[in-house]
């Protein structure tokens, strides 16, 4: 007997697909919701049913609680999965579900509120005995900010109280930048979260970002599935995650796991959650708790042989937590974002071709399809590549192999950077911190440059040849005639304009 009859998946992209997959495997129907821009999205095509919400801006669609809950009611859903982002950490959405008699596949509204306000969360963590980063402030304004920053010492971090997932964070290294950065951070926070509160924190040196995956049921049981190391970040956006974290001793892991479970208990938590810590030199500090499924949850799934979405559904239906299996091997995730590998600016365009990795120990969570338009409306993550190996060395080698197999044409990705991370001596030694990406050597060897030039020259020659150049030395005809593949290209472009 299925736990629920029909789940509304209040999200898009790979995470919507992720939830749909598990629901299908559990025999539960799914209802997708979609914006104008997502009419052809894979989550719409793979769900049992689909409901159109409205315009392409999130506020008109995925962020509109009334529309989303309305769709759930209209289609007879008995549960709703918020994914990550969008409504996932909005207590009001959880409340609205409750009011409509729909099970929210996430924690109770109180827990969301308690952990969603970063200032509040710190207080609760302190009471629960969880260690904190020094220097946090509340009731921050420009004047108090300057004084507080002097007290904890530069560099300092500015964080949006309503932020999360690396959004709304700025590092300030000198006092003269502080006030402008504060104003920018407030403006961003207002725009992104509708809440312009920003707080300040000591910037811990050589920190590692280590987080604990927890799960709680409705019977008071709380378990953790070990840690994920997420220190490979740029602009506080994670690029590579792994589990286990090489730096932790078993004793430290148990202390962190226990602290995370204590925090969950302190707020009456139910479902999946992640407690983020800074780790530095044998000490760990509470950063924040994410009251939702995390992007990088598959790293944990690969190691523990657990389906965390399935567990979310099971505990929401009132079942008891399954025992946590012994973890096996090592898992690594790489986020495949549509972005320029040098500037990390979003790379927009149309996915004209893809070639996906496969073989042993490789998982791809993605909502990519040929023809997908990457638009500025949503975040730029195209896919998550997750590998599992018997040990860290095999996982790294496998990850490298899989990245080389992955080809995406139409937008660029930071995969060349991810490969450099996997080759980096600090990373290989496991002795790295959140600054690793800034230190990555991006230079090319002379052999690589020569190879690329050879290939480029040969490709150009072949194009000219195929285009009908009559003699080996070329008489200009090559550039007059249209090569066959550029005809194809134009066909696709023509098509694109019409569709």
């Amino acid at each position: 007997m299925p736990h629920f009859r029909r789940i509304l998946v209040a999200n898009r992209g790979e995470i919507a697909l992720r939830v749909i997959r598990t629901a299908q495997e559990m025999g539960i129907e799914t209802v997708a919701v979609f914006s104008d821009a997502d009419r052809n999205a894979l989550h719409v095509r793979r769900a049992s049913c689909a409901v159109h919400l409205g315009g392409s801006r999130p506020a008109e669609s995925y962020l509109d609680i009334d529309k989303v809950i309305g769709a759930a009611v209209a289609t007879g859903c008995d549960a709703l999965h918020p994914g990550y982002g969008f409504l996932s950490e909005k207590a009001a959405a959880a409340e609205a579900c409750r009011a409509a008699g729909i099970e929210w596949l996430g924690p109770p509204p109180d827990a969301i509120v308690a952990m969603g306000d970063k200032v509040q969360a710190r207080k609760i963590a302190m009471l629960a005995g969880v260690p904190l980063v020094p220097g946090l402030q509340e009731d921050v304004d420009a004047d108090r900010l300057v004084a507080a920053a002097r007290e904890v010492g530069y560099p300092v971090m500015l964080k949006a109280a309503a932020g999360g997932g690396g959004k709304g964070i700025r590092i300030v290294r000198e006092e003269k930048q502080l006030v402008e950065a504060f104003e920018l951070a407030r403006a961003e926070a207002r725009g992104a979260f509708g809440d312009d509160r920003v707080y300040l924190e000591k910037f811990v040196t050589r920190p590692r970002h280590v987080e604990i995956q927890i799960m709680a049921d409705k019977h008071g049981n709380v378990v953790h599935y070990g840690e994920r190391e997420c220190s490979v970040q740029r602009r506080h956006q994670k690029l590579v995650e792994e589990s286990p974290c090489v730096a932790l001793t078993p004793a430290l892991r148990e202390r962190m796991g226990a602290a995370a479970c204590d925090l969950a208990r302190a707020v009456g938590y139910v479902g999946a959650g992640t407690v983020e810590f800074l780790y530095s030199a044998g000490e760990f500090y509470f950063l924040e708790m994410n009251t939702r499924l995390q992007v990088e949850h598959p790293v944990t799934e690969m190691r523990y042989g657990v389906d965390l979405v399935r567990e979310q559904i099971r505990v929401a239906a009132g079942e008891e937590l399954a025992p946590v299996a012994e973890p096996r091997g090592h898992a690594i995730e790489v986020r495949v974002n549509a972005e320029d590998p040098n500037t990390y600016f979003p790379s927009l365009g149309r996915l004209s071709r893809m070639s996906l990795p496969g073989g042993p120990g490789v998982r791809l969570d993605s909502a990519m399809f040929r023809g997908l338009e990457v638009t500025p409306y949503y975040d730029s993550m195209l896919a998550k590549l997750i590998v599992h190996g018997e040990d860290r060395a095999q996982a790294i080698a496998r990850c490298e192999r899989a990245i080389r197999e992955l080809r995406i044409v139409g937008v660029s990705t930071a995969m060349p950077v991810a490969l450099r991370v996997l080759h980096n001596a600090e990373f290989r030694a496991g002795d790295y911190d959140t600054g690793i990406l800034e230190r990555i050597d991006r230079s090319l060897t002379p052999e690589r440059r020569e190879l690329a030039m050879l290939a480029a020259v040969a490709a150009r020659f072949l194009v000219a040849e195929r285009a009908g150049a009559k003699s080996a030395d070329g008489d200009g005809d090559a550039r007059q005639r249209v090569p066959v593949w550029s005809m194809l290209g134009r066909g696709e472009r023509l098509w694109r304009n019409r569709s």
């Binding site: 730029s380 080809r407 020569e450 030039m453 050879l454 150009r460 593949w485």
Partner: protein, 166 residues
């Protein structure tokens, strides 16, 4: 056929010949035997260089060749002799004017300078919001804003000219 390739500032000359179904590519004092075969999808090539195999995705737009191979992305400029001569002439026209263009579509949420303003290197010129992030666009060097081409609140396309500095 002679080509001039440029990558990361390095320039090299290549001579390509077709003999016995293979390509023979000479650069400096070395010659490579290349077997380049186009795969059915129209953009992927199988490239053998002296027997070493590479899976290459190539996009050839006149002299701009974008490659994906060995896990890297390369943007190589490949000119033939005629194009090189033409570009050499055109190159003389480049003046001291620099353009600030939007690297991605977004919304201009703030304009920090006006026409006629003097700017220093690293100074914030425009704040562009895209993908939910606010990105300050900085001056790459000192100069004077000679033309503003965008307004606060305006949505701009990728590559749109935002302002000019001289």
């Amino acid at each position: 056929m002679k080509y001039f390739a440029e990558l990361d500032g390095e320039q090299r000359e290549f001579v390509v010949e077709r003999r016995a179904g293979k390509l023979w590519v000479t650069t400096g004092d070395r010659t490579f035997e290349l077997d380049l075969s186009l795969v059915g999808d129209g953009a992927t090539f199988s490239l053998l260089v002296d027997g070493h195999s590479y899976d290459v995705v190539a996009d050839v737009e006149r002299d701009q060749v974008t490659l994906q191979m060995v896990g890297e992305r390369f943007a190589v400029r490949v000119e033939d002799e005629r194009e090189r001569a033409a570009h050499a002439v055109a190159g003389n026209k480049v003046g001291g004017k620099r353009e600030l263009r939007a690297a991605m579509p977004g919304i201009v949420v703030d304009l920090k300078v006006g026409e006629g303003d003097a700017v220093e290197e690293g100074q914030t010129l425009v704040v562009l919001e895209a993908m939910k992030m606010q990105n300050p666009l900085l001056a790459e060097g000192p100069g004077k804003v000679v033309r503003l081409c965008c307004k606060k609140g305006e949505a701009v396309a990728a590559g749109a000219l935002l302002l000019e500095i001289e």
